[in-house]
Amino acid sequence: MGDERQIIAQRAAKEVKDGMIVNLGIGIPSMVPDFLGKDIRVFFQAENGILGMGPTPKENADGNLSNAAGLPVTVLPGASYFDSAIAFGMIRRGCIDLSILGALQVNARGDLANWIVPGKRVPGVGGAMELAYGAKNLIAVMNHCDKDGKPKIVTECSLPVTTYHCVKKIITEIAVFSIVDQQLYLDELMPGYSLADVKNNTEADFSFSANFKAHD
């Protein structure tokens, strides 16, 4: 499980290109920086009010310097602090090149559900709605199925939707999908998985990308 999450994060890291502004959600997305090449210079934004976050401090964490999940961070040269209104101004305005978020469900049209499981988990929406609305590119990273083995890539979301038509790519431990014009395409299989695995674990109908490849 931990390993699967790392594999997903490692694959997601390939989507981060030099010179991007990137916002990472909690969970799997937060592991992405561990897999970036040295030649990739990006700025990470946190919606609580930082642009230019650096790695987790090894010691002497500053209680007033944390990311949106409340975890201690550092800043790089050129970083800035600002208030939450400006932080979300950047996000809605389209200044975030790439947002990588966790998801509970994604449907074939790119609708994202990740804020509530009615009657069970009620975490609340946080900044997800704005990131999904504003980011130029939104990648959902998640385990392919939920804890009960049910597919999370669905025909219709049974959970309340966070934002419609926003997910552009889905990365799981089994496969990578793209969503273009509200159509779901299989891009590639992840190492160790077959097309049958994808078909057996995906509820939504999908086509194959022009450049579909089984492995990297």
Binding site: S66, G70, S84, A85, V122, G124, V125, M129, E130
Partner: protein, 232 residues
């Protein structure tokens, strides 16, 4: 209390709290919520409070400590994920929770703080977070109306305050604090350090003192626990 000397003690600040008040609180996941004023609020005994802020904090940090006492009737926030007690109270019908997208909530506070009458957005359109908010048609397109928010009292955490109430903040402890200061009828600032007027450079001031009513000296913050506890 003169315009140029707003420094007072917690007891005086406490007198601003009252049953049924709408309380705005600064902070994001507990970071930047004034710890001394939370204790002061708890100690005041006030009840039936309507809370507005980014989140429900942690049960032991930020507004979370107060939420757990069941003396708040309403909470307007973007999430309560870090405070399971808030979720329990909501499910038991003891706390009415309204969720708002995080950036929309701080803009609602700002809208009240700068004397405007709310704004339009398409952000939550078609989702549960529309609630029964008014829809407004402009040029053939439908938007959600987001109402301004103001507080009877606002509690703010600052790094430094001068005696007039000019404020600067510390890193990510800034978050919603500037707008909470602007949007509250009675803004109470807990500052790590209180300095004379003139000690802050006019250029570095984030919130001008005009928005501040009381300043109290902080005894220090405690939210390093947020993740220290998580790590254990």
């Amino acid at each position: 209390m003169h315009l140029f000397d707003k420094v007072t003690d917690f007891a005086t600040a406490q007198s601003a709290f009252f049953d049924g008040m709408t309380l705005l609180f600064g902070g994001f996941g507990g970071v930047g919520t004034p710890p001394g004023l939370i204790d002061c609020l708890i100690d005041s005994g006030v009840k039936d409070v309507k809370l507005i802020g980014n989140d429900a904090g942690f049960p032991w940090i930020g507004i979370g400590k107060f939420v757990c006492l069941e003396r708040a009737t309403h909470l307007l926030a973007s999430h309560i994920g870090s405070n399971p007690t808030a979720g329990d109270l909501m499910n038991q019908g003891k706390l009415q929770v309204e969720f708002s997208p995080q950036g929309i909530l701080v803009e609602r506070i700002r809208s009240g703080g700068v004397g405007l009458n709310g704004f339009l957005t398409e952000l939550s359109k078609g989702t549960q977070l529309e609630y029964d908010k008014p829809k407004v048609n402009i040029g053939g397109k439908e938007y959600i109306y987001e109402a301004p928010v103001t507080g009877d009292v606002g509690i703010v955490y600052a790094k430094k305050a001068d005696t007039f109430g000019n404020l600067i903040f510390d890193k990510t402890a800034r978050n919603t604090n500037p707008y909470v200061a602007m949007a509250s009828k009675v803004t109470i600032v807990e500052a790590d350090e209180i300095v004379p007027m003139g000690a802050l450079a006019p250029e570095e001031i984030v919130v001008p003192g005009i928005f501040v009513k009381y300043i109290v000296q902080s005894k220090g913050y405690n939210w390093k626990w947020v993740w220290e506890t998580k790590d254990k």
